[in-house]
């Protein structure tokens, strides 16, 4: 069984600051990792994903994430946040075997102060 842990429930930064949202996973086999964003009252939207190759993956709106097998992590980063980045961010993992479901972390609420 795969599990996902997002250790920070809430993160507050100022506009223009950099931010890192942390994600750690637990699973013994091969996995796919992704990040999704949810603005208030909306469904989730895909940001980026990793499954092989370069451990740093680029996503939409300047977001990137770095996979680390040794740390079992897939942290999300942005160099300079905008107030519109305020949302809840979910890390997700699924086993690479066919038909497996996507399991989400608890989410990190990011507040960007203008």
């Amino acid at each position: 069984t795969q599990t996902v842990s997002q250790s920070d429930a809430h993160v507050t930064v100022f506009e223009g600051d950099s931010v890192e949202l942390r994600c750690n996973y637990s699973y013994g086999g091969s996995i796919y990792l992704s990040w999704y964003i949810q603005h208030h009252g909306r469904g989730l939207q895909f940001l980026l994903k990793y499954y092989s190759g370069n451990p740093v993956v680029q996503g939409v709106n300047g977001f990137e994430a770095e996979f680390s097998k040794s740390d079992s992590s897939f942290h999300l980063r942005k160099a300079s946040v905008h107030w519109s980045d305020s949302a809840v961010y979910f890390c997700a993992v699924r086993a690479s075997s066919s038909f497996s479901k996507l399991v989400f972390g608890q989410g990190t609420s990011l507040s960007v102060v203008p």
């Binding site: 796919y32 469904g43 994903k49 479901k101």
Partner: protein, 116 residues
């Protein structure tokens, strides 16, 4: 492309009543997922279909919840004898492939169910 469409956006039911939630996946998508979202539990997987066939319903409360996908264009989640603890946002998502790879899920806006 209108995206994944969920109806209704909000539903209020009395305790013990039945609730049916509808989902129209993106045209051509072959995998459909249902999740439940609450403040306390976060995002909980309920069930999913691939090419209309039920694949995994391990997250479904067995006694009162059921899901169907009678055709490619819609799926329903039915909750019988609703209870206050069923109050949540129910999210439907679809995926464009046969869910055999690192595929992206496209989510609807959700149905907020309130059980009084």
């Amino acid at each position: 492309n209108a995206g994944v469409i969920q109806t209704p956006r909000h539903k209020v039911t009395g305790k013990g009543q039945e609730a049916t939630l509808w989902c129209e996946p993106i045209s051509g998508h072959s995998a459909v997922f249902w999740y439940r979202q609450t403040i306390v539990q976060g995002l909980e997987f309920l069930t999913y279909f691939r090419n209309q066939a039920p694949i995994d319903d391990s997250g479904m409360p067995k006694e009162r919840f059921s899901a169907q996908m009678p055709n490619q264009s819609h799926s329903t989640l039915k909750i019988q004898s609703t209870q206050p603890q069923d109050s949540a946002v129910y999210l439907c998502a679809s995926s464009g492939r046969d869910w055999g790879g690192p595929d992206t899920l496209y989510f609807g806006a959700g149905t907020r169910l309130s059980v009084l």
